[in-house]
């Protein structure tokens, strides 16, 4: 039982580099849970009881706007974790509502257990700190970008950073690009059309073809 949990936990990116000893400790307290599509896993604003680590399936993380509109923040899949931040705050509350999109299997670790593990197991503490540091890094860059650059500038920089020459390593939906830039899909679509009109890019059916490096670099400075 613990053995198979250890196998599954190793596939969680946060735990990938941990020793067997650490994983066994985690496996002893990780509870496996399954959800059917549409089932709610956490509710925004409720007291945070546990952190969750997805073994299989997809979940959708969302908030409701004041008008009651659902705003999807992100979709997460195998290997990813959620509810980590409120877990380390005194009396933390869930940041968002999380719902299963597909059949989901995940591991839940309660606040109490995770706090104890962090005390017992420095390598887990370090792995968590690394994860928090990289998120903080991303947010710091995003805040700088939001305050210093227009969406045009951010998109130009994003395209320069992600333009590929040989093998295609990943594909992006406009929604994902928007989430990355801290804006909304409509703005990404509109800005891409503006870039196309200016001859900086060409929109093929399923490709954004970058045409003018200098022009994009100039945009990225804005």
């Amino acid at each position: 039982m613990v053995e198979s949990t250890v196998q599954a936990l190793r596939r969680i990116s946060l735990f990938a580099d941990l020793s067997d000893d650490a994983l066994i400790r985690i496996a002893r307290v990780a509870r496996s849970q399954t959800y059917v599509p549409g089932e709610v896993i956490t509710i925004r604003g409720e007291p945070c009881r546990a952190a969750y680590f997805i073994a299989e399936g997809q979940v959708r993380v969302y908030r409701l706007s004041p008008g009651g509109r659902e705003q999807v923040l992100v979709q997460l899949g195998p290997g990813q974790a959620f509810n980590m931040v409120p877990l380390f705050k005194p009396h933390g509350a869930n940041h968002a509502t999380v719902e299963a999109l597909t059949p989901v299997t995940l591991y839940a670790i309660t606040c109490k257990d995770l706090h104890r593990l962090v005390g017992e197991c420095p390598e887990l503490a370090l792995a968590l700190l690394r994860d928090f540091a990289s998120r903080l890094d991303h947010l710091t860059n995003l805040v700088e970008d939001l305050s210093l650059r227009t969406v045009r500038g951010r998109l130009a920089r994003f395209l320069l950073e992600h333009g590929e020459t040989n093998a295609i390593t990943r594909r992006w939906t406009q929604e994902e690009i928007a989430a990355h830039l801290g804006t909304v899909r409509d703005m990404v679509g509109r800005t891409l059309r503006a870039f196309a009109d200016a001859g900086l890019v060409r929109m093929d059916r399923q490709r954004i073809v970058l045409l003018d490096r200098e022009g994009l670099e100039a945009e990225a400075q804005r």
């Binding site: 599509p37 395209l159 992600h162 590929e164 992006w172 406009q174 490709r207 954004i208």
Partner: protein
């Protein structure tokens, strides 16, 4: 140039609400026994409206970002 790209529909996430079938501007989507599919690929303009309106997040219209002057 690879094949004609189409929106990807993840039937595991789809609840067959029919929004994509009703609202595709070119009528390219139809409901089959297992769920929606792009019945008229050549009519699909890859406008990504279906991606926006699917309440389940089941449809995606991904893009490659490439450098190039590689043909039309």
């Amino acid at each position: 140039m690879e094949g004609w790209a189409l929106p990807e529909i993840n039937l595991q996430q789809c609840n067959q609400c029919g929004a994509c079938v009703e609202q595709c501007p070119t009528g390219a989507v139809e409901m089959g026994p297992e769920g929606p599919f792009i019945a008229r690929p050549s009519d699909c303009t890859y406008c990504a409206l279906c991606e926006t309106l699917c309440p389940q997040g089941a449809i995606t219209c991904p893009y490659e970002i490439v450098w190039g002057t590689d043909g039309p």
